[in-house]
Symmetry: C2
């Protein structure tokens, strides 16, 4: 599959490299084509990896991952271009973390709205699927870094898109349990989990932390 | 121990009954002494149970549970009286759920503040401990309703109070894993977990749902 990755941070690089390894053609996009970080990633990731602008990456992909910092995501997606995102699955992995008021960060949007919904509203002809934002990059593509089963959440307004992304999560990344929380307004719940994640990260001194949903 | 329970809803009744069964002297408080709900609870709960106003219950307790609806908690605690709460452990079990804008509810405070912190700020000489707000009433006092281990969170500014409450949770209620998230600003994380809980409740069609924290 041709996949576009928006963002050259740890999340973009980790997802991109895994997808290349799985045999996909992955183009990483950044503000300007030819950024040092993107070029270094292309060299590391090997055959199947390419880079370009946000628009290049979005145009290339049949499926797009938003791996930009949450507060910059809408701008990055606007730079990618509505037409390049149209009709495509847009997997929103980002969190609207606001570091401007000190640590731990707060959320720049929450409670009655979410970044996932803002993206869907701004790009109504894309199929936004929110997932993977509740774990660190390494775990996203290698859930076995934590022994046993643990839970990934997914939400979105388009059932077929969620099915396709769930298949990717399970069959390619190795997630055993993916819980569909419903329509994209559930992105509020997924993003509002972040403060708990941050506390657990501080307490347990490892980013390889997640939750397993259990019930009676 | 003498315990005050503020609130006559399911949470107050469930916690109160369990604490009576464990041998504590429990007084349930409501807006006015002699409410039908409180009197019915006293009859059901048996020896060790009594009821009265918020102030009666708080004055009675060496330890107080706030089991009122989140948006009414500050008023209820003011009615209980600063002096009756002074120097005591005040276990805040409530959630600031705002049902006025439809379902699922939003939070009336979140992100850069929390109900737990608002209570602490309003009653600076009480020792507020936030816990139990992330599970349904029945699970609070009977975690074995879900097989295996799962996680309870606790936060607060006073270490001794957290130790005492953790002992209650483990030795009397049967919680196997209690994670101390740090000072009371972690109540933000505990309260912001609620939207995820509500989605899981809707999805799994059971209130007996929780998470187990796992890590690599």
């Amino acid at each position: 599959m041709r996949i576009g990755i928006l963002g050259t941070g740890v999340v973009g690089k980790t997802l991109g490299s895994k997808l290349v390894k799985l045999g996909h053609e992955v183009r990483m996009g950044s503000r300007k084509a030819g950024s040092d970080k993107a070029k270094a990633w292309v060299r590391d990731a090997g055959i199947g990896a390419s880079e370009g602008s946000f628009a290049d990456a979005a145009g290339h992909g049949e499926m797009i991952f938003n791996c930009t910092a949450g507060m910059a995501s809408l701008d990055a997606l606007r730079a990618a271009g509505t037409k390049n995102l149209q009709g495509k699955i847009l997997i929103d992995v980002s969190n609207p973390l606001d570091f401007s008021k000190g640590m731990p960060p707060s959320l720049s949007v929450c409670n009655t709205d979410s970044l996932g919904e803002q993206i869907q509203k701004t790009f109504p002809e894309s199929k936004v699927v929110k997932t993977l934002n509740t774990v660190t990059a390494a775990l996203m593509v290698e859930p076995s870094l934590i022994p046993g089963s643990h839970t990934m959440f997914i939400s979105g307004n388009d059932g077929h898109s969620k099915t396709a992304v769930t298949r990717l999560l399970k069959e390619e990344f190795g997630w055993r349990e993916v819980i569909d929380l419903g329509d994209l307004s559930a992105a509020r719940a997924q993003e509002m989990y972040l403060p708990l994640w941050l506390r657990l990260y501080m307490k347990l001194q490892t980013a390889n932390v997640n939750v397993q949903v259990v019930h009676g």
